[in-house]
Amino acid sequence: MEPQLSWYLALSAVLFTIGVTGVIIKRNIIAMFMCIELMLNAVNLTFVAFASFFHDVTGQLFVFIVMTVAAAEAAVGLGIIIAIFRNRETLDVDEASILKL
């Protein structure tokens, strides 16, 4: 039996939901950051599955661009994390609830 399109969509949905739950329940800012990466990957799986099942290369190009955005997000996000740690000596997001440094 071949895997159907809906199987991939279900797997992607489960991964995305785990990512959302992680962002909500985690307190460490780096762990939240990694949960966001997990959500981006779940969406990528949907794109590749649709590209494969509809024989269209556009979905894979979207994945390519999403990966670039994820790399940019990683660089800027980790820069922000380092700046927060330098100012507050903690990575707990509850401690960084004020925008003022």
Binding site: M1, E2, P3, L5, S6, W7, Y8, L9, L11, A13, V14, L15, F16, T17, I18, G19, V20, T21, I24, I25, N28, I30, A31, F33, M34, C35, L38, N41, N44, L45, V48, A49, A51, S52, F53, H55, V57, T58, Q60, L61, V63, I65, M67, T68, V69, A70, A71, A72, E73, A74, V76, L78, G79, I80, I81, I82, A83, N87, L91, D94
Partner: protein
């Protein structure tokens, strides 16, 4: 055969994702996330997208995770200690929101299953590097160039943010030091 592989890699991805959320130390979370990336790369190969699979391993499991692990080690992150949660009421809210999300997705899944779907074939040339390159440099040239500008902005932004002295201009920082 393909169904068995899908179940294997899908279970690996979900297990690693659950471990990512369950681990208390960020370094173990990072290693679980690498597991998710690798199993997703295997699924991309099954979906006849070898180029995307290779980029997934090189960019995600390679570059991005090295950056994350580097920051974890640089900041010497400790394990999350057990302490009274200030926002404890958010835990049932999170579970409820996850249920809503799953319900929405189940609705979409039912809609997709009812619609007509073309059968997949492993012999299509959609996933090979040549077709991706052709599309990237002809039809989608503008998004490609905008992406390069985005990367330049990310480089400058990351350097500005992580520089010692933070966002203070160098003139004032020199006066203080």
């Amino acid at each position: 055969m393909l169904a068995l592989l899908f179940i294997l890699f899908g279970a690996m991805a979900i297990g690693c994702a659950l471990a990512l959320v369950a681990q208390r130390h960020p370094l173990y979370s990072a290693i679980s996330l690498i597991g998710v990336f690798i199993s997703l790369a295997c699924l991309y190969v099954m979906l006849a997208a070898p180029f995307i699979a290779a980029v997934q391993v090189i960019v995600y499991a390679g570059a991005i995770m090295v950056l994350v692990v580097f920051v974890i080690m640089l900041l010497n992150v400790e394990e999350e200690e057990h302490r009274r949660q200030r926002l404890k009421f958010l835990v049932p809210v999170a579970v409820a929101l996850a249920g809503v999300l799953i319900a929405e997705v189940a609705f979409i899944l039912v809609s997709v299953q009812e619609s007509r779907v073309l059968p997949t074939s492993a012999t299509s040339d959609v996933g090979i590097t040549q077709s991706i390159g052709t599309a990237l440099f002809t039809t989608y040239l503008l998004p490609f160039e905008i992406t390069s500008i985005l990367l330049l902005m990310a480089i400058v932004g990351a350097m500005t943010l992580a520089r010692r002295g933070g966002l203070i201009p160098p003139r004032d920082a020199g006066k203080r030091g």
